[in-house]
């Protein structure tokens, strides 16, 4: 195989922040995110010799995602429920309201928007994080989350419609 460790440092290590960011947004806990990111990096290091793609960041993020979901699975039986099972709830999403300015005001509340995003099921949250914070293409997101392109578009749309709707609603209060 190739000289894995040095190429790993050149190709994969630069995406450590992206790995940590995705882990952090998925598991929503600084310590757990560090564990998940570390697990994922070590797995990536171990299987780097088999990596032949052109997109090390997407490859790494897929591994991070798997590690994060494994962690979340383990937490599912814990007393404090995460929003993982909330998919149903968001099927009945409120319609977005008519006032675009409300969004700008909502944006002033950093914590508020963060909480809203955290309330989304992880499948929707990860799409938004990968698109808006990592600025990945639909194709890349589809590869990372292992779903068809159409599913990515639909999940992004549901996530955004929910956030727009909630921003409107909080503005009314």
């Amino acid at each position: 195989m190739r000289a894995a460790p040095s190429s790993f440092a050149a190709q994969v290590l630069p995406h450590l922040d992206a790995a940590y960011n995705l882990a952090r947004w998925l598991v929503r806990d600084a310590t757990a995110a560090e564990d998940v990111a570390q697990t994922a990096m070590l797995r990536a290091l171990k299987s780097f010799s088999t990596f032949r793609g052109e997109n090390p960041r997407a490859w790494l993020l897929a591994i991070v995602r798997n590690a994060a979901y494994t962690w979340m699975e383990g937490r599912r039986r814990d007393p404090e429920p995460l929003a993982d099972d909330a998919d149903e709830r968001h099927l009945a999403m409120p319609d977005p309201g008519p006032d675009p300015e409300a969004l700008l005001r909502a944006a002033e509340e950093r914590a508020h928007l963060g909480r809203l995003l955290a309330a989304l099921p992880p499948e929707l949250r990860e799409c938004l994080v990968l698109r808006e914070l990592e600025e990945l293409s639909y194709q890349e997101i589809a590869g990372i989350t292992a779903v068809p392109l159409g599913t990515v578009m639909s999940r992004l749309w549901r996530a955004r419609r929910f956030l727009v709707g909630q921003a409107e609603r909080s503005d009314v209060r």
């Binding site: 010799s49 032949r52 977005p96 675009p100 509340e109 950093r110 293409s137």
Partner: protein, 248 residues
């Protein structure tokens, strides 16, 4: 109430914002939007959301402690990994050594395969070669299909079909990475040789077995019952026989 005429329209507006439309699609949409207040309002909301998300939500940075501990792990991983790999070359025998060399240089894949299949073929072949290192073949030995399926379910959240295959002896299972996905792997034996079956959920329609080869490993893949199967072995005949027996 501001959801445009159809959800499809919303998805289209969103795709335009994300730069995912080609010039023609984008122009068509602009033409429609020029006369549609509803769609204009939605586009405004989506742009506002983007501004809000990007300006307020943090893109977290990896803590220094994580960076340091990774650097240490990488330094530690470097030496043992190399030594272990070298040890495996000598006993691997002519076939595997030659195959590993081929992997090192380039993956020789039959031209009939589409790009996706050749990439997977390369990964499956590489995983198979890697597993030929001593102690890497099995994570869980076992001859009992139901117990193996339950083990995979616990490890992966996916219970692959595990079968007794006539003419082959089930030796056990392991977990591997193919295409950056954790993958269920079943190991069968016949006459002292190994046939390895990789399985993962795949929603596409069933397809009959397609034979190909990568890095000197004979492969056959097919899809059935929502699962994609990749069988890997020493000779095309044996892999074909395995695929046939599995599907019988």
């Amino acid at each position: 109430m501001n959801v445009p005429h159809s959800e499809a329209m919303g998805v289209l507006i969103q795709a335009d914002l994300d730069g995912e439309l080609d010039a023609v699609q984008s122009a068509d949409l602009a033409l429609h939007m020029a006369g549609c207040a509803e769609c204009q309002a939605l586009a405004g909301q989506l742009r506002g959301l983007r501004t809000a998300v990007r300006s307020t939500l943090p893109r977290y940075q990896a803590p220094e402690a994580l960076r340091r501990s990774l650097a240490a792990s990488m330094a530690a991983a470097e030496k043992p990994a190399r030594r272990r790999f070298r040890l495996t070359w000598a006993p691997a025998g002519g076939f595997l050594a030659g195959a590993a060399l081929a992997t090192a240089v380039a993956l020789a894949v039959l031209p009939i395969a589409p790009p996706e299949a050749s990439r997977l073929a390369g990964e499956v072949a590489a995983a198979t070669l890697r597993a030929s290192e001593p102690g890497h073949l099995l994570d869980r030995p076992g001859k009992e299909p139901a117990a193996l399926a339950a083990w995979f379910q616990a490890e992966l959240g996916f219970a692959p079909p595990v079968r007794a295959v006539p003419g082959f002896t089930l030796a056990g299972g392991r977990l591997d990475y193919v295409h950056a996905r954790r993958t269920a792997v079943l190991v069968y034996r016949r006459d002292g040789r190994t046939v390895t079956l990789y399985l993962w959920p795949e929603e596409h329609a069933p397809t009959p077995p397609v034979s190909l080869a990568a890095a000197g490993i004979a492969l056959s893949y097919w899809r059935a019952d929502g699962v994609e199967f990749w069988a890997a072995g020493a000779t095309p005949e044996e892999v074909r026989a395995f695929a046939h027996a599995w599907r019988a």
